[in-house]
């Protein structure tokens, strides 16, 4: 892929990924593989894109206080450990197997995105702006929604940790990041509001990506000039995406993203 096309792909996928709370690598890595890049070189670029999107979104999401960092840290231990194992064995897996894995990953992400629900937790009129944020010592908190404030609490932690571990393993193996698994796991399994789940995933995918990048660097799989280009474009895309989050309705974005992922997934499996 030529540098202009690579930068454009990284920008668009980071913007769309941050916008939908799924991470951009799930789009970028299959696109790179489809364009002819070997999966073992596309995977590190995917993680660079994920780390860039995570860093770009962080200042804005911290100020808005929608991230639950206690939940993020608690679940990230499982994800990062699994990502380390996945990244270590990823070099042993053949091109064809990795392409099919990415295809299946894209199709599952398309399904997960399409079936995700809207608002589960409702605003509590007794809460005010002073209550917004995390509750110390717990996996609970309050987040702003429109003019109201919504309390929430993470449930079913063991099942959630299992999902996060799977997300980390896939991230380390394929470089697609794990946001597309983490966000639905936090939202649908642990019953955390989608907005908080997406923001928390955006934080934790940066940590998972850091683990994978360390291992890829040790394996000499990072092409610095390409990675720098993807990082620059990903940082701009992530910044644009997190701003657009407030403008476009998330269900619309998720449906569009699901359609694109379904096409990419089918193409990857058919063309392997």
């Amino acid at each position: 892929m030529n540098p202009v096309a690579l930068a454009f792909a990284a920008f668009v996928t980071a913007a769309i990924g941050t916008l939908g709370g799924l991470g951009g690598a799930i789009l970028l890595v299959p696109l790179l593989v489809l364009s002819g890049m070997e999966a073992k070189y596309a995977a590190p670029l995917g993680l660079v894109s994920v780390a860039a999107g995570s860093l770009a979104a962080a200042p804005h999401q911290l100020t808005a206080r929608v991230v639950n960092q206690r939940l993020g840290v608690a679940t990230e231990i499982a994800a990062s450990s699994a990502a380390l194992i996945g990244a270590l064995v990823s070099g042993l897996i053949g091109q064809s197997v990795l392409a099919v894995l990415l295809g299946v990953v894209a199709l599952v992400a398309a399904f997960a995105g399409a079936r995700r629900k809207g608002v589960r937790n409702l605003p509590d009129s007794s809460l005010s702006v002073d209550d917004v944020g995390e509750t110390p010592g717990t996996l609970a908190g309050v987040y702003p929604l429109g003019d109201g404030f919504v309390p929430y609490r993470a449930n079913r932690l063991p099942l959630g940790l299992l999902g996060m571990g799977m997300a980390g393993l896939i991230s380390g193996l394929s470089g697609v990041g794990g946001g597309w698994v983490k966000t639905p796991t936090a939202s649908e399994v642990m019953h955390v509001p989608v907005k908080v789940a997406a923001a928390t995933s955006t934080f934790t995918v940066g940590v998972t990506a850091a683990v994978g990048l360390l291992v890829y660097e040790s394996q000499g799989r990072i092409v610095i000039s390409d990675a720098a280009l993807v990082a620059a474009a990903g940082l701009i895309g992530g910044t644009v995406g997190v701003r657009l989050q407030h403008v476009l309705p998330p269900p619309l974005v998720r449906r569009g993203l699901s359609a694109i992922l379904a096409v990419i997934g089918v193409l990857l499996i058919v063309r392997r």
């Binding site: 540098p3 930068a7 660079v48 780390a51 860039a52 995570s54 860093l55 770009a56 962080a58 200042p59 911290l62 100020t63 206080r65 960092q69 206690r70 840290v73 608690a74 990230e76 231990i77 990062s80 450990s81 380390l84 270590l88 944020g133 110390p136 010592g137 934080f203 940066g206 940590v207 990506a209 850091a210 683990v211 990048l213 360390l214 291992v215 660097e217 040790s218 394996q219 990072i222 610095i224 000039s225 990675a227 720098a228 280009l229 990082a231 620059a232 940082l235 701009i236």
Partner: protein, 88 residues
């Protein structure tokens, strides 16, 4: 609240630095470009580690021991990854 704002400012600075290094790595040829690109990758890896470390200090100060320990365990996983990367 103040700590969140300070962390947000630190990450904002990291974002700008990373972007500058990324541009250098992408467009400057030769050794300078390579060093700049490598610095960009190092910053992308370091930013979440610094963030988790910041949280551990914050939670320790708040006497939220359980989450401070969980954060420390996560830093241990990250350190293990770094050690493996160095050894290989």
């Amino acid at each position: 609240m103040m700590s969140f704002r300070a962390l947000s400012r630190v990450l904002q600075v990291a974002l700008i630095l990373t972007f500058a290094c990324a541009l250098g790595g992408a467009f400057i040829p030769g050794v300078v470009g390579r060093v700049s690109g490598t610095a960009c990758i190092v910053l992308l890896i370091a930013a979440p580690v610094v963030r988790v470390g910041w949280l551990v200090v914050d939670w320790t100060r708040e006497r939220d021991t359980r989450f401070a320990l969980l954060g420390s365990a996560l830093l241990l996983v990250l350190a293990t990854s770094g050690a493996i990367a160095l050894v290989r």
